[in-house]
């Protein structure tokens, strides 16, 4: 019986020939990250235990991206705690200030992830790196603290579900729409505890940025990880960035799947996930007129170059509707620089948008664009739970950057061909 990509990566890190779903294994980790929300708790745990060793300072990554630039004294204290910890242990991958960006956009860009790696992070969207053919999953602060000391963690080998995407995509249908549609189809616990492997001609055609978007939202279906084969696009991306050895795996033809789900994308239209679950999806063409107050373009889901290019394509020569605040969060300093170079920032500014610093911003209701009672927001982020972006009576509609940008122009939720 063969193995899936996920099983092969776990087996390699458990130094075993073979692993089977359900088995508990101890695995070596290639990287363990935490951010300014989760790292302070990890650091506090280590200090409480008077533990003063780190297994490998080069395999610990700390990113100050959630409540940064620090919004208040408490968040500044948290970043200071990370900074002091990084200095004490010689952790070179500590990102703050002008070096920091949204962690899951930043780490691949910095060459910290290679195909075949096993990465854990104190952030649920750590699953993003599956787009590079790595196994990556989110855990809590205490698990991450333990891994910083041991260089290992324990895992339950997940069952895998294979998603096959075939057909020809319609205009304005992106990786975001594929994943939203998939979550809508299987539900927010449809892949609970499982590995989601994405495959098919449609996936091969996707840009890497769109693949990151898909792997990023695997957790919204309850998955442990999302994963794709590392093809030539991936190998081109990592070459020159990373010093890690790329270990490229493919699932065996006789690998065991909990389920194989085939999706014909030919009739798929741009998706909008209504409040208050990412699975509450509708075609943008089938919804009533919903007037909005804010649009957010950015996040670990859609804060990359391709995303900004999609938005700029819509916003070029247009103006944001007077009732709407348009907030754009380039994912990292490099994305911001590239956007400047390509003239996208000018397009956004002339349209009346606000360019925000690389940060998670309002995605989790933190800062830089929190919603008031009754306000509605179209967002390229990943969660639309009740109260997620602010007031408990505010609403978040999830969509791709094309739809977000066109909605900003229209003042209501719309696709580019509706404005």
């Amino acid at each position: 019986m063969g193995m899936t990509i996920t099983e092969k990566i776990i087996a390699a890190h458990a130094q075993k020939e073979k692993v089977i779903p359900g088995e508990l294994v101890q695995v070596k980790i290639d990287l363990a990250l935490a951010n300014d929300i989760t790292a302070p708790l990890s650091i506090k745990e280590l200090e409480k235990q008077k533990i003063d060793r780190i297994f490998d300072p080069d395999k610990v990554v700390l990113v100050a991206d959630h409540n940064t630039p620090c919004k208040d004294i408490a968040s500044a204290q948290n970043v200071k705690l990370m900074r002091d910890f990084a200095r004490k242990y010689g952790i070179s991958h500590f990102f703050e200030g002008g070096k920091a960006g949204i962690e899951h956009v930043l780490l691949p860009e910095e060459g910290l992830i290679a195909p075949g790696d096993l990465v854990i992070g104190a952030d649920s969207h750590t699953c993003t790196y599956g787009a590079l053919g790595a196994f990556s999953t989110g855990m809590g602060s205490t698990d991450i603290a333990a891994s910083w000391v041991l260089g290992e963690t324990w895992l339950r080998v997940p069952e895998s579900i294979l998603f096959l995407y075939e057909g020809k995509r319609k205009p304005f249908v992106t990786g975001k729409d594929l994943i939203l549609f998939t979550i809508g189809k299987i539900g927010v616990d449809g892949a609970r505890y499982c590995a989601m492997e994405f495959r098919g001609s449609v996936i091969s055609e996707l840009s890497l940025d769109e693949r990151f978007t898909m792997a990023n939202m695997a957790v919204e279906a309850g998955a442990k990880n999302g994963i794709m084969e590392a093809d030539s696009k991936v190998l081109n991306y990592v070459s020159g960035r990373t010093s890690h050895l790329s270990r490229v795996y493919q699932s065996d033809p006789d690998a065991q799947w909990r389920e194989i789900i085939e999706i014909d994308v030919s009739s798929l239209e741009p998706q909008v996930a209504f409040p208050h679950l990412p699975s509450n999806t509708h075609s943008v063409y089938s919804i009533p007129k919903i007037e909005i107050d804010q649009v957010v373009i950015g996040s670990c889901t859609n804060g990359r170059m391709e995303d900004l290019r999609m938005a700029a394509q819509v916003l070029k020569g247009r103006e944001v509707n007077p009732r709407v605040r348009l907030l754009i969060f380039p994912g990292t300093p490099s994305v911001l620089k590239q956007a400047e170079k390509e003239g996208l920032l000018r397009i956004f500014l002339e349209a009346g948008g606000i360019i925000a610093p690389p940060s998670c911003g309002p995605c989790l209701g933190g800062h830089l664009g929190v919603l008031a009672e009754g306000e509605k927001c179209v967002s390229t982020t990943n969660r639309n739970f009740l109260g997620r972006m602010g007031h408990v009576k505010s609403e978040v509609y999830l969509a791709n950057p094309y739809v977000a940008a066109s909605s900003a122009v229209a003042g209501y939720i719309a696709a580019p061909d509706q404005i």
């Binding site: 088995e23 508990l24 294994v25 101890q26 929300i37 989760t38 302070p40 708790l41 506090k44 745990e45 409480k48 235990q49 959630h66 409540n67 919004k71 208040d72 408490a74 968040s75 948290n78 992070g121 104190a122 952030d123 649920s124 750590t126 989110g138 855990m139 809590g140 602060s141 205490t142 698990d143 333990a146 041991l150 290992e152 963690t153 324990w154 339950r156 927010v188 616990d189 609970r192 505890y193 309850g222 442990k224 679950l277 989790l364 209701g365 933190g366 929190v370 969660r383 739970f385 009740l386 109260g387 997620r388 602010g390 408990v392």
Partner: protein
């Protein structure tokens, strides 16, 4: 390990934003402060209703969403001793056990809000005294029983020094 307490009943897909809203997360190091806001967005008076030792009883996919460990820790600080659910989201489940908060999967459909419960953590036997019924929970993996028995991952780690306790 026998636990006794009252049930506070919730539905499906209770996510970590409902357990502790992102807007309070910057207070990451003060669990007693966070505890005052647990479940606030879906039940504004929850904190006042909880008595030490109480349980949360929920439907499917409890704890979905963020990896924030503040969620189980704030529930513990609010006095919650354990959670019974039809199913759990994996990160929350692992975090709860790591924090010494019992989390058991079982059929919760017959338990009503306010029921008096008695739970044996090691055998997974649940007695609902108000309904006069007995429910059997899914057994936890051995490593999780060990972690829970020690009171959380930190205590486990102190004792074992590593995951030597991962048994098959």
């Amino acid at each position: 390990m026998i636990l006794r307490g009252r049930a506070h009943k919730f539905g499906d897909n209770i996510n970590t934003d409902y357990i502790i809203s992102g807007k309070y997360k910057f207070k990451t190091l003060d669990m007693n402060e966070l505890a005052k806001h647990v479940m606030e967005d879906i039940d504004p008076h929850f904190y006042e209703k909880v008595k030490p030792g109480d349980f949360i009883v929920a439907g499917k996919n409890f704890g979905c969403g963020s990896s924030r460990e503040q969620a189980p820790r704030a529930l513990s600080a609010a006095g919650i001793r354990g959670i019974l659910a039809q199913s759990f989201a994996r990160i929350f489940f692992r975090n709860a056990i790591n924090c010494g908060l019992a989390a058991l999967e079982c059929d919760t459909s017959l338990i009503e809000d306010g029921d008096e419960l008695e739970i044996d953590l090691l055998t997974g036997k649940i007695v609902d005294h108000s309904q006069g019924i007995e429910i059997k929970a899914q057994p936890l993996p051995p490593v999780m029983v060990d972690i829970l028995r020690e009171g959380g991952l930190v205590e486990y780690f102190k004792k074992y020094g590593s995951f030597q306790g991962v048994r098959k």
